[in-house]
Amino acid sequence: MTTDSTTRSQRRKLAKKPDNTLVSADRAGAGLDRGFAGLAKAAGIFILIILAFVAFFLSWNSVGALYQEEEGLIIGRFLSYAWPFALGTVVVALLALIMGAPIAIGVALYISHYAPPRASKTIGYIIDLLAAIPSVVYGAWGMFVLAPAMVPLYHWLSEWLYLWPEENLGWGIPFFAGSPGMGQNIFTASVVLAVMILPIISSVCREIFIQTPKLHEEAALALGATRWEMIKMAVFPFARPGIISGVMLGLGRALGETMAVVMVVSGLGFQASIISPGNSTIPREIALNFGETGHGTERWHQLVALGLVLFIITLAVNMVARWIVSRHKEFSGAN
């Protein structure tokens, strides 16, 4: 396969006018040209190789979690080990999304359509600052500031949604069972994650809200629409794919986030309650155990396999986002 237009035209020239003195005038230059093109292409291919290696390594080393020579297939053992972590990861990420996404969209709307125009740029920078704070700092904040602050809420939830109905109705909502302790549970972790994904979703939405054609906004306003009606008629239909991809981006980030969960959640073991210590996520399990696990043991393979599961979940989320966006493209109003 030829790589670039110059090389191609060069060859065409060579074929057409073999005797032309111009042809041999700058052999070295032409060679450099081809070399540079090859270098650029090699870099691209190198990226593909890296990714192939990531995928290969994860799959190859996961095999040990599913098959051991002495015992044969041990898929059941891996599944019973892995599912609490997979479930924990998804629950934490979804909780974070439920809390973070509406606020993020609200903030984006505030910046694009409600804030005083002069201040909106500065406000945008300030919200972007949230995205710049490293996750370990959020983890520390969640551990020392947020978790203690959430304890009264957990007591209240446990009292009114678990203890009280259990006494009076015979059963309580199991999500709110148990003692909150220091508040170091997956609910606190999902609040921290909500804070972390907020600027990501918000900045994607803000960009697309700002791009809404003035023409459509003015069409709605000229019909006597209020600001909210204008947003509903002109902004949201235009921005829908952008909102979806922003939310999915946030979900992907929440699924893969490690440190905030590692630092905020304490305790081990799976349980239904989201307000008492315990439960874990895939990244947390890997981060806490990978260093201490001997290479090649079944546990080591299980941890790598968990990484593969996480990789597949985030990949699926990204694919779904892409699919939704492409499906909505024709209705996006970019005409």
């Binding site: 691209g44 390594f57 704070i133 370990v136 700092v137 520390a140 893969g256």
Partner: protein, 424 residues
């Protein structure tokens, strides 16, 4: 037109509307001949009067004031006669939103009320978003400032302080506050620098290939797709990859006799740098690609027309035009990876002393230092924890400052050094 007049008109208008709706719900043909149905549909939505459709300017601040005061009273009573800021905020927000909705609806109409309701919800969302930002910055600055002002914070590592006796001595005032984050700063800089040196050429060349050479063939579409996939790789998975890649390379090197590393000796700076590359390359490719695409084609053609070869055109015309954007993108990608914790924890481990050698032994970085110090405080648990916590908050402050400075630099580069727009 007087105020009462307007209100009267409004009531009449709403009666009309209700009657009309009822009639539509009935859906019977007979209903269409009633006196009400003689109203043209246009009349339903036609505003009767210019005035009387807005509430006075003091209305919103007044409602907000009422919300704050009543919210305080309720939260004070519910919270057992003590001030709870969270409850106060929740009740104030609820009262403000509800009261202004109900009054607007009663005084004006449903449309205005809904408009106001959503405006208020957007405002509340914005305030909610600011709370964690302020809280994070506040706690990091207040606690961190004490950490960074100790004289040894910048100049020492933690190798002296691992022992409880030493911390105890510091605590009792028998020894000056010792220990610092020098080793973590050095580690962070080395690892990030190495990752940058590896990632930037690969990312830059790839984006040059995508923009300048490929013409939408399967290879370029594949690269674009997989770069997107890479953007979504969780950082912990990148860490796993770093370990695996380095183990493989070390093993191969051992076999051909290039070096001899013991098994499990992958824990070193270069491993972390490799892991970070996986996170950094897609960011570099994305931003650089975007910047190269906005370089106008006229510039390339002008250069070709002078008989300049393509690779020289790219290096001398295209990249210089886009350099400020590329530099800003690279700076942002550095800012992103310098705060990464999980992949470095897996790959470079932890250490209490300075290590300059990227190829031998564990290395400490700022994020890992923060994590490790909070999780396993030096000097053991109990009273002495505050000393190591101060250092950790100090390290967090330093890290935030570095990341923010990088972001600021990126913005300045993008704005100040952007190519001057040519006048028409």
């Amino acid at each position: 037109m007087s105020e009462t007049d307007t209100k009267h008109m409004h009531q009449k208008f709403e009666e009309h509307q209700r009657a009309e709706q009822d009639q539509v719900h009935l859906g019977s043909a007979a209903g269409m001949v009633g006196s009400v149905s003689n109203v043209e549909p246009q009349e339903l939505i036609r505003p009767r009067s210019l005035v009387g459709n807005v509430l006075p300017k003091w209305f919103l601040p007044a409602t907000a004031g009422v919300g704050v005061v009543v919210g305080f009273v309720i939260s004070y009573l519910i919270g057992g006669l003590s001030v709870n800021y969270a409850l106060w905020f929740v009740f104030a927000a609820i009262i403000y939103v509800l009261v202004s909705y109900l009054i607007t609806r009663q005084q004006l109409n449903k449309r205005k009320a809904v408009d106001g309701l959503w405006r208020n919800l957007v405002y509340v969302a914005f305030v909610i978003a600011l709370i964690p930002l302020v809280s994070v910055i506040w706690s990091v600055t207040v606690d961190g400032f004490q950490g960074i002002t100790h004289s040894s914070f910048w100049t020492q590592d933690m190798s002296q302080n691992a022992a409880r006796t030493r911390e105890q001595a510091i605590h009792d005032g028998e020894a000056p506050m010792g220990g610092g984050v020098l080793h973590a700063i050095i580690g962070s800089l080395l690892i990030t620098l190495t990752a940058t040196v590896i990632s930037v050429p690969i990312g830059l060349l790839t984006s040059i290939y995508l923009v300048e050479y490929s013409r939408g063939g399967p290879l370029s579409r594949g690269i674009t797709f997989f770069v997107d996939v890479m953007t979504g790789i969780p950082s912990i998975v990148a860490g796993l990859f770093g370990v695996a890649a380095m183990q493989t390379i070390l093993m191969l090197g051992n076999q051909i006799g290039l070096w001899s590393y013991g098994p499990g000796n992958y824990s070193m700076g270069i491993t972390a740098a490799v892991a970070l590359c996986v996170l950094m390359i897609p960011v570099v490719v994305r931003t650089t690609e975007e910047m190269l695409r906005v370089v106008p084609n006229e510039l390339r053609e002008a250069s070709y027309a002078l008989g300049v070869r393509k690779w020289r055109t790219i290096l001398k015309v295209v990249i210089p035009t886009a350099i400020s954007g590329i530099a800003a993108g690279v700076t942002l990608s550095i800012a992103r990876v310098i705060g990464e914790t999980a992949p470095i924890l897996l790959t470079a481990g932890t250490l209490t002393r300075v290590n300059w050698d990227m190829f031998a032994g564990s290395m400490m970085t700022l994020p890992v230092y923060i994590y490790h110090t909070f999780r396993y405080p030096y000097g053991g648990p109990g009273e002495l924890e505050y000393l190591s916590e101060q250092r950790a908050w100090g390290a967090a402050l330093v890290l935030i400052m570095i990341v923010m400075t990088l972001n600021l630099i990126a913005r300045i580069i993008a704005n100040v050094f952007a190519p001057k727009k040519t006048g028409r």
